[in-house]
């Protein structure tokens, strides 16, 4: 049974208009995103800043209302689930800035156990605290962390508390919005391994959002590349990293510096020219046309739709052929 499905999802924000009664403008960020996610699987969403990946992540939980399309949770349209907030225990989220995700005025035990007051109101304070300590243990934090405060934690420890809070309600899915981008390399590895262990032991599905292609490669089963709010490529991990089809994916692969001097010294001078297009004025044709080395007039005028180039692999480009 598919756990999570997006169907033609559009998301945007209302910008407050200027003046007393100025009309507010609607800024579309995410356009026509569709995918399915099976239980225990990880979908990696990768893209540069402004591509709408975080907005999409929040819309998948209806934390921001999508402006078009549907999000199905176990086959049921989330917009129609009554008292959705009580079902939120099954679908949780962790954030990029670990310390900002914790209320500075609460002890860690209260932070982690707070969601239980909504999901399992029957629990006594004592039982809730025990569940919190159990969750902290699952993320490698000993019981004596329970009475500490967020300002006493390192970035890595704070992110673990965020994960513990997500785990306490026994979720089926966790949306990870750039969870390791703010952490040092050695701590990043600890948190990535922890997420993969939890997925194996608890059968968790993950939506892993990041701008770092290498991190996404390590943790995802399927990869979705986004550019300026649109999906430009979707593929299983192995095939994608062996042979990225869309020129944008290739450019990203090319740009990511690897700790291998010979490979990197050869790469100097191969960077794209041109600027990141702005979300406020999206180009008419293909979203990558302004920087694509293979761009032709066709690309600048008509937007290529996301088509199946090879079974199980989608790409949105006029000139992409099967590998």
């Amino acid at each position: 049974m598919t756990l999570l499905e997006a169907q033609g999802l559009d998301v945007g924000y209302k910008l407050p208009g200027s003046g007393l009664f100025g009309g507010s403008r609607f800024l579309p960020i995410v356009h026509d995103v569709s995918f399915t996610l099976e239980p225990g699987h990880t979908l990696g969403i990768v893209g540069e800043s402004g591509c709408g990946k975080s907005t999409l992540g929040r819309a998948l939980l209806h934390l921001t209302e999508p402006s078009a399309g549907k999000v199905l949770w176990q086959g049921q349209d989330m917009a129609t689930i009554p008292e959705l907030r009580r079902r939120r225990s099954e679908m949780q989220i962790i954030f990029q800035d670990p310390v900002a995700a914790l209320d500075p005025r609460m002890t860690l035990a209260r932070i982690v156990s707070r969601p239980l007051a909504t999901f399992e109101p029957g629990l006594t304070r004592h039982e809730a605290r025990a569940r919190a300590v159990e969750a902290l243990g699952k993320v490698g934090l000993s019981a004596d962390f329970a009475d500490r405060y967020p300002h006493e934690l390192s970035g890595g420890q704070a992110q673990r508390v965020g994960i513990a809070r997500a785990l306490v309600g026994r979720p089926k899915l966790i949306i990870c919005d750039e969870p390791v981008s703010a952490l040092d390399v050695s701590i990043q590895a600890q948190v990535i391994n922890l997420l993969m262990d939890l997925q194996e032991n608890l059968g968790l599905a993950l939506v892993f959002i990041s701008h770092n292609l290498a991190v996404v490669r390590h943790i995802s089963h399927e990869v979705m590349v986004m550019c300026l709010g649109r999906v430009v490529e979707y593929a299983p991990r192995g095939a994608f990293y062996a042979q990225p089809l869309h020129p944008y994916s290739q450019a990203l692969m090319q740009a990511v510096p690897e700790p291998d001097p010979r490979r990197e010294k050869g790469r100097i001078g191969t960077s794209l020219s041109g600027e990141l297009p702005s979300v406020l004025s999206p180009p008419p044709g293909c979203v990558f046309a302004s920087r694509c080395p293979k761009a032709a007039d066709l690309c600048r005028t008509t937007r290529p739709d996301l088509r199946e180039v090879v079974p199980g692999r989608l790409a949105a480009c006029h000139f992409v052929e099967a590998p």
Binding site: E48, S49, S154, G156, Q157, D184, V185, S186, I187, Q188, A189, Q190, I192, N193, M196, H211, N212, L213, A214, V215, R217, H218, Y241, A251, L252, M253, Q254, A255, V256, P257, E258, P259, D260, P261, R262, R263, E264, K265, R267, I268, G269, T270, S271, L272, S273, E275, L276, S278, R291
Partner: protein, 331 residues
């Protein structure tokens, strides 16, 4: 660019320490760091947060916070920067030595036109007229590939993207043809395709003007792309120093090896789990023995007691130095 004998090195840092007076006591951010740089060479300083890597640059440029103090020697073309009076230091800053910073969004003056901010340095250091300086500034903006540079020079920083602002910063730094460019995590705040552009620009301009570069970063990939030689820092001390090729092919220090194992890769074979270094990065503070001891899985009893000196493994290539007791026993 192999390092020629010590005498004509552009920069020679000897036993630099930086400490900060905090209400709860004195902390040592940099603890006796020594390193050399040849003219035109690109040196990478790599370390996690709290390793003190940025403080080395700030100490050299006299930009330490009010409660910071630097000791030791920083010889730049024979002059000890730490002992210069502010006025003497100002003659060098932005002229012989210039610096670019991590966050492009806040490093430019929001109230001043970009062209004026560039021209200002030239007017002060080269004493040329305003119009001449502004013309030179436009040429430099063009050189760093800012589209229609002449018009853009009259605009204000908030009208530039992050990537463009960083290129403006580079133009500003290289305008006076400095001999040394200090870069404090210049591409950390940028997207990967924009980062590639900025790194290409730095490599190109560095080679063209013969400017030596010290690049401080936490990203081993960036170091591999730009640097000739690399210094790995932890807890304010040099753990390992080697040419880029040696460091990445045959790292010796457990910390360097741990960092490389912990970094997810694009092209090498996938391993089920990333290599990890337990515990949290240590920041500064007085420590007897090796600062990495609490997280090092190959530690010896001696590591917690005696501070491992930076030994030269002359057997390998000409400059491969490591501060670890494990190498003490090695040939």
């Amino acid at each position: 660019m192999p390092l020629t004998p010590m005498t004509d090195s552009l920069l020679s840092i000897k036993d630099l320490s930086v400490s900060f007076r905090l209400p709860e006591g004195e902390t040592l951010a940099v603890d006796g760091v020594s390193l050399d740089l040849a003219p035109g060479e690109v040196l990478g300083i790599v370390g996690e947060s709290g390793s003190g890597k940025s403080q080395i640059l700030y100490a050299m440029m006299g930009l330490l916070a009010a409660n910071g103090r630097a000791s030791g020697q920083v010889l730049f073309e024979g002059q000890n920067l730490l002992s210069l009076l502010p006025a003497q230091l100002d003659r060098l800053r932005g002229n012989a030595v210039s610096m670019i910073f991590q966050d492009p969004m806040t490093s430019l003056n929001p109230y001043m036109r970009v062209g004026d901010q560039l021209a200002e340095g030239l007017i002060v250091h080269k004493g040329i007229s305003r119009t001449q300086a502004q013309a030179e500034a436009v040429r430099m903006l063009d050189r760093v590939r800012i589209p229609d540079a002449a018009a853009r020079a009259r605009r204000f920083p908030h009208e530039f993207s992050g990537g463009m602002r960083q290129r403006v910063m580079i133009a500003m730094a290289l305008l006076a043809k400095p001999r040394l460019l200090l870069a404090d995590e210049p591409t950390t705040a940028l997207d990967v395709t924009i980062q590639a552009q900025v790194l290409d620009l730095m490599a190109e301009l560095g080679r063209e003007t013969g400017t030596a570069i010290i690049l401080v970063t936490h990203d081993l990939g960036v170091v591999a792309r730009l640097c000739d030689r690399v210094v790995v820092l932890y807890g304010g001390r040099v753990m390992e120093e080697a040419s880029a090729e040696t460091l990445f092919d045959a790292p010796v220090h457990p910390y360097t090896r741990g960092l490389l194992a912990a970094m997810p890769r694009l092209e090498t074979a996938l391993t089920p789990r990333l290599g990890t270094i337990p515990g949290t990065p240590r920041s500064g503070g007085q420590v007897i023995g090796c600062p990495f001891v609490s997280r090092c899985e190959a530690r010896l009893p001696d590591c917690a007691i005696h501070r491992p000196p930076l030994r030269d493994l002359t057997a390998l290539d000409h400059r491969h130095r490591v501060a670890c007791h494990l190498t003490g026993t090695a040939p």
